[in-house]
């Protein structure tokens, strides 16, 4: 694409890691086989921002030389219309039985945009074990079903498009009696190219530069506070989004904050406030400077100077 498409990943990164990463969707190995300790191998939006489907691969081995990979792929619920870009699923008749000559097994879900398959052009899977791996493929398809896009596609009424963004930020606040720093990683653990938090934004019918933040997915983060030579820490959660302004070159994201843990008496658990990130949307380096403002705990972080950086990119 010549234009930069901004819109699509992060929800997927986090929420679907649960399906494919949290609980291992790979079925147990058939008798005499061993499941790879690396199972599952997942390739989805966390690996490639913008992608709206996930591939889960489960590898099995049997000494001394047998191996097979059973693969499931599914469209994410965020995929606006899987008919346009995913093709497979929602059709139980679309299948391919294993044959000694064909060496491919394929089964599609009847109720989800998903399928599972294994293929063995190199003859590493003994024919007598093909049936066992058909059962593995069907089980894997079942295990990923909850994460996959349902077959229902609303063609009757307009669908509001949710644009997905990834973000991270950090700030240092300094005043005469207080120093504080914290933030959410601009590089996630699984992929240094992807920030650790995300949000979706929707625009009203007459809106232009201002969108409403519909959902936020972000880890609880720590704000370290040094006051009167004592160290404190706040655990802060992003409760919800407010709005997202994009008036080139300015980008401003506003979010609701809540303190969920604190050993700092001036800012106790349960306190609420706002986070405002303002940055240049044309600079997408992970350490791009940004204006960060934390409105929390009776202006504790108001009168002073901030230094910060932030990234907001399309998913």
């Amino acid at each position: 694409m010549l234009g930069l498409l901004v819109g699509g990943v992060a929800l997927s990164c986090v929420s679907h890691a649960g399906a494919a990463g949290g609980a291992n969707p790979c079925p147990a190995a058939p008798h005499g086989w061993m499941a790879a300790t690396s199972n599952p191998t997942v390739f989805g939006p966390a690996e490639q921002p913008g992608q709206q489907h996930v591939m889960v691969s489960c590898d099995y081995k049997r000494a001394p030389k047998h191996a097979v990979s059973v693969v499931a792929e599914y469209a994410l619920p965020e995929d606006l219309n899987p008919l346009s870009d995913f093709y497979y699923g929602c059709n139980a008749r679309r299948k391919q039985a294993w044959t000694t000559a064909g060496r491919t097994f394929f089964v599609a879900s009847a109720t989800r945009w998903s399928y599972a398959e294994f293929t063995d052009p190199g003859h590493q899977l003994p024919d007598e074990d093909a049936g066992a791996f058909e059962r593995v493929a069907r089980a894997l398809l079942q295990h990923v079903a909850a994460s996959a896009h349902s077959c229902r596609i609303n063609t009757a009424t307009p669908t509001v498009v949710r644009h997905l963004y990834l973000f991270g930020f950090e700030f240092i606040f300094s005043s005469s009696d207080l120093k504080a720093f914290g933030g959410i990683a601009t590089q996630s653990a699984r992929n240094p190219l992807i920030p650790a938090a995300s949000f979706t934004a929707v625009s009203g019918r007459d809106a232009t530069v201002l969108a409403k933040v519909a959902t936020v997915t972000a880890p609880v983060f720590t704000v370290h506070v040094v006051a009167r030579q004592k160290h404190h820490s706040l655990r802060v959660r992003i409760d919800a989004g407010i709005d997202f302004l994009q008036r080139p070159p300015t980008q401003r994201l506003r979010l609701h904050l809540r303190v969920v843990g604190s050993d700092y008496a001036r800012c106790v658990k349960g306190a609420t406030g706002t986070l405002t990130i303002t940055r240049n949307m044309l600079n997408n380096a992970s350490n791009a400077p940004a204006s960060i403002r934390v409105g929390l705990c009776d202006a504790a972080f108001e009168r002073g100077t901030y230094r910060g950086n932030a990234i907001i990119i399309s998913g």
Binding site: L5, L83, D206, T208
Partner: protein, 164 residues
């Protein structure tokens, strides 16, 4: 990926007020293409521009969208639209009206809307010693698709070959 999303116009080039008077046709009309939306912007007369938005997506019909110009540019009024309704708001354009998807394949044009509007640009001084036409460029504008009506069939990306 088929993200019906925000299309950043990376390098829209608009004729600045200076030389545009002498050269009303912008030599660089800055067509922008994505898998979902084709976007072109051109100068009609000084201060008056035309934006063409074409649906190139297999997702469905576009029901509403907004176009936001790059830094320093501000849409002041919408003069005409070929379909639906568009209005200037916050220095940008908000449009409603169905733009149909391509019918046979996404390799062929889908529906389109043409918008004529007034826009002011940044004050840019002609570089010292420069002769001839003076064109002011911009980058960083974007188009956001806000609502779509999904289509329940697959629109292929290419037409079948005659042999098929």
């Amino acid at each position: 990926m088929r993200t019906f999303a925000l299309l950043l116009a990376l390098a829209s080039t608009l004729a600045g007020t200076g030389a545009a008077a002498a050269d009303p046709v912008d030599p660089d009309q800055s067509a922008k293409v994505s898998a979902d939306v084709n976007l072109s912007l051109r100068t009609l007369t000084p201060g008056v521009y035309e934006l063409v938005v074409q649906n190139q997506s297999g997702v469905g019909a576009i029901d509403s969208f907004a176009w936001v110009p790059g830094p320093g540019w501000r849409v002041t009024s919408v003069l005409a639209t070929s379909r639906g309704t568009c209005a200037a708001s916050d220095g940008a354009i908000a449009c409603r009206g169905k733009i149909s998807p391509p019918t046979r394949c996404t390799c062929l044009p889908g529906g389109k809307v043409t918008i004529r509007f007034r826009m002011t640009g940044p004050r840019v001084r002609r570089p010292a010693g420069q002769q001839g036409a003076f064109v002011v460029g911009t980058a960083g504008g974007y188009l956001v698709v806000k609502a779509v009506t999904l289509i329940h069939r697959h629109i292929p990306t290419a037409l079948p070959s005659p042999a098929q």
